[in-house]
Subunit: 354 residues, 4 copies
């Protein structure tokens, strides 16, 4: 039986598996301010046994709590689990959690794609393909009902989140040419690459640098194509991400051929209509462009639509905090729905700025 | 009669005067998440008439609200007012607010010093010296009772906050030599200099730069001396602030002659004892040093104490978010006390990190 | 008669008009290390009369020299002039310089486009359309001979430089589909926006920010189209620049439809062939992507070519220091050619790194 | 017999040992632009066998050259060697180089201090104490003659360079109280910590951070004391370095008790006199403060002197590029002297700015 709000105690215990990574730490930070959910188990692998304060001194209130081994979780002791493990590991952990009755939000990639996509894009065979059918792709604003009832929510990747929210309604309404190729030029801060120190995450390498990476082979490409396919279109997506010298935030600049007769005003109107009243999605007025800086620490997403008339190109720009709406924030938004809690519980749309 | 919590409606209206500056925006951001207080009046001068979203797009939920002229406030309509106006302007505004029954937290400098300090350090004669006696210097952890009962709280400056919290207990316990000169070397992000674009706030000038400013004449110097004097000592303070390429955060590295026989452990023990149980002050363990990055958006303060035995020097380091515990956060902490609300209402000690 | 090297004294005097801006300062910095050219006249408008050291303290060796009024230049006293004035101003100044016998490299936009392009893209009528025919578009590697003999060289814009160097050879060899639209997604540091402090150049606004600007209407668009047209193709270009938190450097990520049968190896081979032996253009090996950080302070340009086979998209990425090869460096490279000096005199391809 | 200029070929071969670190790369960059010296041997340990371009893509002109094993150097094939190896390793390498006739500039710490200082400050016993007497401490402006004739020059550390240049003349002239303690508060970019990726060099950790490190136990402390002792005074130095989010540049803010009757003007006059005509040391005018940003990539040093009269404190601030005058630049300046070349050959005092 699924846990829902009627059964929630004031302090509903949830597990965070992969709590010692950046997404995990953001989940914990948000949960410390959540009115209902309580991070009762912090699972890790390499950092198991360490105190939280040694790894993340900003989490002062639980500095002396320890990370436990992921596998030490008694799944029946929690209402739900956030899984933020490296690609390929979720598939080995999630089935057991679900069988023990826990609702699962998986922040990894293991439940986002069909099984045959994993060898090519991720380099491994999926470990539990029979479970893929139980997962719902949790781009919340486009999948509320399905999320609410799901056993497993596949939390979207950071880049696909603004791409899906921005493009899907425009394909659905026929404002973008069905035969277009979609170009997505992404820019991301370093936190998306994780906490492990590497040559490219060194401050001396990244400060002052702007550099494309994984050109033509970033694993978020098929996820974007699926998100657009949910809108009834099937363009190929060329996605080139760039690393820029920021910590948080992604911007996706999408280019597509405008449908005959469509206008910038029509694009903007559709987005405004679709997201009217949404607590976390803000469609910007004419002339304005999204900036993830304004969303730091929040679950907000900014979108804008533009037309380059002289070339017939539609441009749709989106921004999120990759650790917020692009990861931990959307995960909590999804779990709120799954547990029958207010969708906005523990979340804000207002970033820390400047 | 002073407003206190018994009389507070669920949504207690408060004014923010100077809401279109950085400290003002942070007050508004925090108030939007406060369970009781509500920013009902956003006063500005130059930006009056503009929509909030035009000036601060991150404040999405009130984007279409407008800044009003400071002088248009009907003080009887609010329980309290935060005043974040340029130096010299508070003194002309605060008396009227108090007379109309509003509790006031002044984030400016006008009520922090004796009247005779203003010409030398601030370059103007104080405009309402007879009101200085009604103000309490609101370094919260050292003045809780007085703050709770005050009509006017002079909210401390960003630099003096960690200096006062770190040094005062050590002078009080005699661990620092009474005859010492205190050297305070400060480092601050640019938000402390305000929102107005200038040659030195230009990204191209500040990125990659570290530079001392206002050498020997920063106006926070006498405030630090007063904060230390509250501990019964009267050293002269030499304070040199430096601008570093960050947005938020100040670090103060204080140097003083160690008292005969004092040890690093003794210094740390005193600070641990004094701040044991404090929700917002964290004394770091041996070997660790404060970092304002961990406090971004929070009301936290980190402190550490060290001894350089070979030179007989005590080093006390502190860090705050200059817009948090160094301005808006501490201001809300103080107003919470003044209104009988839980001291931590609307505040967190956990910064947005990384 | 045109000045050439045979007539050059060891110290050949040149003027820099607009010397108090960022491009002007970089010209001066490079000229101070140039073996032949000597900055004998530093012209400015608003800063005229100020000492160089007041505006640019890094130019220590000439700190006490003063900026003079642009109009005070006696053109016959210099062999050549660099003109780095705001758009629209060059057209009023350059003709007189040429008539007085000075060779001119114009770093502004006034001599880059046909006259009818200015009202739409720049918002003004060209002031000296009859002089446009005397100017050569100075994308050096593609116009050496014409540059050498020109009276006026229109120095390319920062963004069009890597776009033209990267795309033109690929259109010329038919590897890109002639019917494609070209998408150029640009990323630039703040120095490209000039020295004047503004809301968007404030460190507190830019740090942590990534934001598209001038969407669909950036004035470098027609210049890119012309640069590609020189290769015999006439695609429409959609160009969206983004401001990222760096000081120097631009990256241009260009997307075009691959011609039938073309391959990534073929693209790279063409670029390697074309730029083999070039001192300032480096074509990167497979898998590598350009990074302007490596070019800081240099006249280098990095290029890479890629193919996304699943979408049939060619991706050509370029990077320059916008003040180097994107402005002052290329200007000196061009003047070297014009004066018969070694093309590399006073220039380096090695950036200051890290 | 010592090599001097009379014997120098146009291209004098020199070795760089430790060429794959940041200081080594800066040596190579500067040598590529040096009129006489040529980096003929690039020695490394872990990176031996790699191509230069794989490790440092900015060094394009020698991208396909390979790092060789340090121990493979035939010392008789070079006129001189720069040694930039980890602490403790120089002592094992330098004697052999000298015996083979090479002049040596050691950028490490092994020849800066008396033997008995190493166990306490560096944690190891010195490996060749009998060679310490052959080394000259190469703070160039204070040791020109000795440097010129030395077999081994111990190149000063980055922090001690501006401290020694700033304080020594003021102690020598009696303007600072002989009984003072000297407080040195240092700020440094991350390049000083080397190329190896670590938790604290991660961009996500350092961006937005300001943090003291090695409090009271930084190994540059005794070097500062020695540099001051050369001026006839023997104060204890308390030195606290801070890591700030920049790549290059150190600032040292020194505090000392002013001698009776001394004035700010007197301090500045002494520094101006001492460094009048120096190509690389600039004493700033009243009110200005040093900024390493202006020195990026250069061999310059900026100094300023101030007095806080109300506390009787003298403040002497210095800035260098830690890889320039703080390492590679000064090393080349020293070798120029040793080989009888012009002292400024291959060096500039003008940084890349902004």
């Amino acid at each position: 039986m699924l846990h829902t709000h009627a059964f929630m105690a004031a302090h509903t215990p949830v597990a965070v598996l992969g709590a010692s990574g950046f997404a995990g730490a953001e989940l914990v930070r948000l949960l410390l301010g959540h009115p209902t959910l309580e991070p009762s188990f912090l699972g890790a692998r390499g950092d198991a046994g360490m105190m939280v304060g040694e790894v993340f001194p900003h989490l002062g209130p639980i500095a002396s709590q320890r990370f436990e081994l992921v596998d030490a979780l008694d799944a029946s002791s929690v209402a739900a689990a956030f899984v933020a493990l490296p690609a390929g590991e979720s598939a080995t952990v999630v089935p057991g959690l679900v069988e023990a009755g826990a609702r699962v939000v998986d922040l990894g990639a293991d439940f986002r794609l069909p099984a045959d996509a994993y060898p090519g894009w991720y380099g491994f065979e999926h470990g539990a393909p029979e479970w893929l059918g139980k997962a719902v792709y949790g781009l919340t604003e486009r999948a509320r009902e399905a999320v609410a009832g799901a056993a497993i929510v596949a939390n979207p990747g950071c880049y696909p989140t603004p791409v899906g929210l921005g493009l899907a309604p425009l394909f659905e309404t026929g404002l973008l040419d069905a035969g277009t190729t979609v170009v997505v030029d992404g820019k991301s801060g370093i936190s998306g690459a994780g906490k492990a120190p590497t040559a490219s995450s060194h401050f001396a390498a990244l400060d002052g640098s702007v550099r494309a990476y994984k050109v033509g082979r970033h694993q978020h490409t098929p996820e974007m194509e699926l998100a657009i396919r949910s809108a009834g279109a099937s363009p190929a997506v060329t996605f080139i991400p760039h690393l820029v010298p920021t910590v948080r935030g992604v911007v996706t600049t999408c280019y597509a051929r405008l449908a005959e007769g469509a206008t910038e005003a029509a694009l903007r109107d559709v987005l405004c209509d679709v997201y009217d009243g949404e607590p976390f999605v803000r469609v910007l007025p004419e002339g304005a462009t999204p900036d993830p800086k304004r969303l730091t620490g929040s679950n907000g997403c900014e979108l804008s639509a533009h037309v380059d008339e002289h070339a017939g190109t539609a441009i749709v720009i989106g921004a999120v905090d990759n650790l917020g709406k692009g990861a931990a924030g959307q995960a909590i938004q999804n779990l709120n729905l799954m547990l029958g809690l207010p969708e906005t519980a523990g979340l804000t749309s207002v970033g820390v700025y400047p």
